[in-house]
Symmetry: C2
Subunit: 485 residues, 2 copies
């Protein structure tokens, strides 16, 4: 390439980097039972070329292509659900873990009232596992928003497994795809498909391999905690979610069964539902102070059930910020935990976006809302669209039709004469004349409101006139002069 | 004048109309004692020529001129207050009416506890006189915001006089001047001179005739209620403010003295203070949703003490609207009274500004605030101010300095590489290259925040490059394409 040319990046090789396919591929889904639990391998089998092709053409075109491909041999997710194929649609392993076992727990809790100590244990484990998901799985691993010491990572890996939501590796991979492909068909929890799909539907049904996607998770390979947890996930999960509470409650105060039901099953159930809310509720209810083109939303309710992950509009805009909320009154205990760990020397490199970037986002979104509201109001015909009249034409028609010139623009004030707050006489005396100076201070320095009203009365511009569309400018100058006094 | 010329309004004759000097001048201040009470005649002796001269030049120049004029013979208001000239500064009649008599009332109330019936009478008269000022003096007469039947006007004239704030004619005249000259030296209660001046100072001290002003009140001449009240003001005032309560309380339940102190003096004192608050408090505390270039402000506290006149920012913008507040939750009982009268057929032609005009004002003010906040942030160097580099220059420096081209603009991303939420590898692979497409969707469709960050890294533009300052546009197109899916 000559010195005088610009090199353009090679999209395909960049996509290979972004998808991690440029390196020896680390397994994303586990083999065997673990694999079934954590999604199927064919969902991640995608090449950089395919991703590039997709990104360069419209997804509508892609759809057509894929439909043709599956024309004869339709994937189960593309076939209508019937009584006879129902069992094929469902991911039964996930069904057992997030529906059947919790139902079993709820059922038994009715006949087995809890001991207060067991409830306390359930609560403590709920917090441990919950925070391991939010501060660990999510902010540490998926977004690298800070670095943490080994004991902290071990804690997250152990109690995070106890939430029964898959390994760090699988969870982080899905989550990165969710961020990269938010609100597209590649988004595993695509919120456009409704509340139920993004809450649990996506994990209970078999996904369509035409939406396969990959994200780079090569950084996970560098942390043995992650790879170890992934390899022995089933074992660690059972240990953390069930065996630990059973043993603590059993050996501690003899409540084996209660430990299993309350501090085991029901605790997991609550964490699962809370976490699922980040994919459903946080893309469903609340405000959009940073960007309203996509589904993520901020809501304090979502924050309450998710240890502070409810400021999701902020989070999608500033994903690698260790905070999800920036105002002191917003509920984000996960942020406090991370901050606390940093004070103890157990966490460092806490990443934040600059206050400048955050305020820019807020202001741009406010501007968008303002523009939308502005476009609904009548601001008068734009000057460019007005007909041009000669002076002669104006003089001929002015008195009869009730016209006044202000700033080179002809206004029809006939209907307004009687409404004029400054009295009829002044407007009548100005009919057929140029009242620019009078209107702008020489008689009265009209308000903003008056200038707006005036604009709605535009009918034409004067040929070769000194046209000022923003009639307000003249007044601003005049007021500046007043200020001297 | 030829058909081809535009006639410009004659400013001086318009000012004569605006000041009412084009007609046989109705007396504005009364003769004798009444005149002293209601301002001095020399404050309104101003010609259209003088007003015009003032409006056409800056007030600073006017000041200089006036100073020269008064160089030898200074008006008392221009001389420093000393022990020996103190008595000349004070308007003693007003002092008696708004300070001495109320003080007398407060003093006696200490030794003469009130009867409950007398207090109730005081309250009723307080409401009668207060509403007569707000709905009558102010919204009906000063602003012609509606028309009212004779009995209503008689009620306002009688109980309004009982507030001891001057006649309708004088009050309305001052008030029109206040609106026309808000925050200038001609404003009788010029809020720029501080809380105390605009509250009571202006009426206790002698005004400076160099600030004389006039407003057209020829419409008052058409209402015999106004002219009659003006002519017999002192009599009606004493009747309404003192004799009525004394007689009612005395003949009713034998409490002549209490009627005088509570339902007479103290009632007047409270109304006066409340009304004065519109000139002081309403120009002092609160928000400015419509215009912040002048002092008027909206505050619920002011509204509470003034029967709803506290939405003063709205009122100065939309003076002839019969409402002062437009939201259902804002406290404006005066509006309800007027509306009630119209339902009874006793008021009509209730004027309002269009919802369009009101919302325009709100949006413009919000836009102003937004622009102010925007100007405090770093949006990157404007493209016009960036140096122009040849491709050669870019290629030479790019790798060493860490440069990337996006949308024809050269960005220094060196410090950002490690911060990139999408990982270092992608940015590194783009160094020294044009990454426009990759950045805008072919690899990842970056957020608003990313585009803002990018702008802050600008260092130069490429010669003959395809420069897009709003890097966001490309992405918007891409997202529109996604939507098809
Ligand atoms: C033809 C278009 C006009 C419009 C839309 C208009 C609008 C208004 C409005 C909305 C007000 C209320 C106060 C304010 O908002 O500032 C006002 C007051 C006034 N206008 Fe106009 N006006 C017009 C023409 C004129 C002309 C030609 C004159 C003088 C030659 C004039 C003189 C006044 C005066 C003296 C006041 C009274 C100020 C007060 O007492 O508050 N207006 N006008
Ligand atoms: C040089 C200036 C760049 C800036 C300021 C920048 C900024 C950002 C930001 C703020 C994010 C967080 C997510 C978002 O806000 O959308 C992000 C994510 C990302 N960026 Fe960049 N980026 C730059 C260059 C690039 C380039 C050249 C590529 C690709 C060739 C790239 C690919 C990505 C990817 C794949 C993500 C991950 C999305 C996710 O997981 O959420 N970035 N970038
Ligand atoms: Fe999300
Ligand atoms: Fe996230
Ligand atoms: Fe005011
Ligand atoms: Fe007013």
């Amino acid at each position: 390439m000559s010195e005088e040319q610009l090199e353009v990046v090679d999209i395909t090789s960049l996509n290979a980097i972004a998808a991690g396919t440029n390196k020896k591929v680390p397994r994303i889904v586990a083999a065997g039972l673990g694999g079934k639990l954590m999604g199927t391998a064919d969902m991640v089998k995608v090449t950089a070329e395919e991703i590039t092709k997709d990104s360069m053409e419209s997804l509508a075109e892609k759809d057509a292509r894929e439909k043709a491909k599956y024309a004869n041999k339709k994937h189960i997710s593309e076939q209508p659900v019937t009584l006879s194929n129902f069992h094929q649609h469902v991911n039964w392993l996930n069904f057992i873990l997030v529906v059947a076992i919790p139902a079993f727990g709820v059922y038994h809790s009715i006949f087995h009232p809890p001991q207060i100590k067991t409830l306390a244990l359930a609560f403590v484990l709920y917090v441990f596992s919950g925070v391991s998901i939010t501060a660990g799985y999510h902010r540490l691993y998926s977004h690298k928003s800070y670095d943490a010491a080994l004991p902290v990572r071990l804690f997250f890996a152990f109690f995070g497994a106890g939430a029964i939501e898959g390994s760090i590796k699988w969870w982080g991979h899905s989550h990165r795809i969710h961020h990269r492909y938010t609100d597209t068909s590649r988004d595993p929890y695509d919120a456009r498909r409704g509340f139920w799909f993004s809450h649990m539907g996506w994990m209970l049904s078999k996904p369509n391999p035409k939406n396969r996607a990959r994200a780079d998770i090569s950084d996970f390979a560098a942390d043995w905690v992650v790879t170890f947890q992934h390899r022995h996930y089933l074992l660690i999960m059972i240990l953390a979610s069930f065996i630990t509470p059973v043993l603590v409650a059993g050996l501690g105060w003899g409540d084996y069964w209660g430990g299993f039901i309350y501090a085991g099953i029901l605790k997991c159930f609550f964490i699962q539902q809370a976490t699922f809310c980040v994919n459903s509720l946080a893309h469903w209810i609340g405000v959009q102070p940073f960007d309203d083109r996509r589904t993520p939303r901020d809501h304090v309710l979502t924050a309450f059930v998710t240890f502070g992950e409810g400021y999701h509009n902020f989070h999608h805009e500033f994903p690698s910020d260790y905070r999800n909320a920036i105002k002191w009154y917003q509920y984000d205990p996960t942020k406090i935990v991370i901050w606390g760990l940093s004070k103890l020397g157990l966490a460092w490199n806490l990443k934040t976006f600059s206050q400048n970037a955050i305020e820019q986002g807020l202001l741009q979104q406010q501007q968008k809302k303002l523009d939308r509201m502005k476009s609904k109001l009548n601001w008068g015909t734009p000057v460019e669209e007005l007909p041009v009249w000669t002076r002669h034409e104006f003089n001929e028609r002015a008195k009869k039709e009730g016209l006044i010139i202000i700033s080179g623009i002809i206004h029809n004030v006939k209907a307004f004469i009687k409404e004029h707050p400054g009295g009829q006489a002044l407007v009548r005396a100005s009919l057929g004349k140029d009242a620019t100076k009078a209107f702008n201070g020489a008689v009265y320095a009209h308000s903003n409101a008056a200038h707006n009203l005036l604009a709605t009365m535009r009918v034409a511009v004067v040929k070769d006139g000194d046209i000022i569309a923003d009639t307000f400018e003249l007044q601003e100058q005049m007021m500046a002069k007043e200020k001297q006094n």
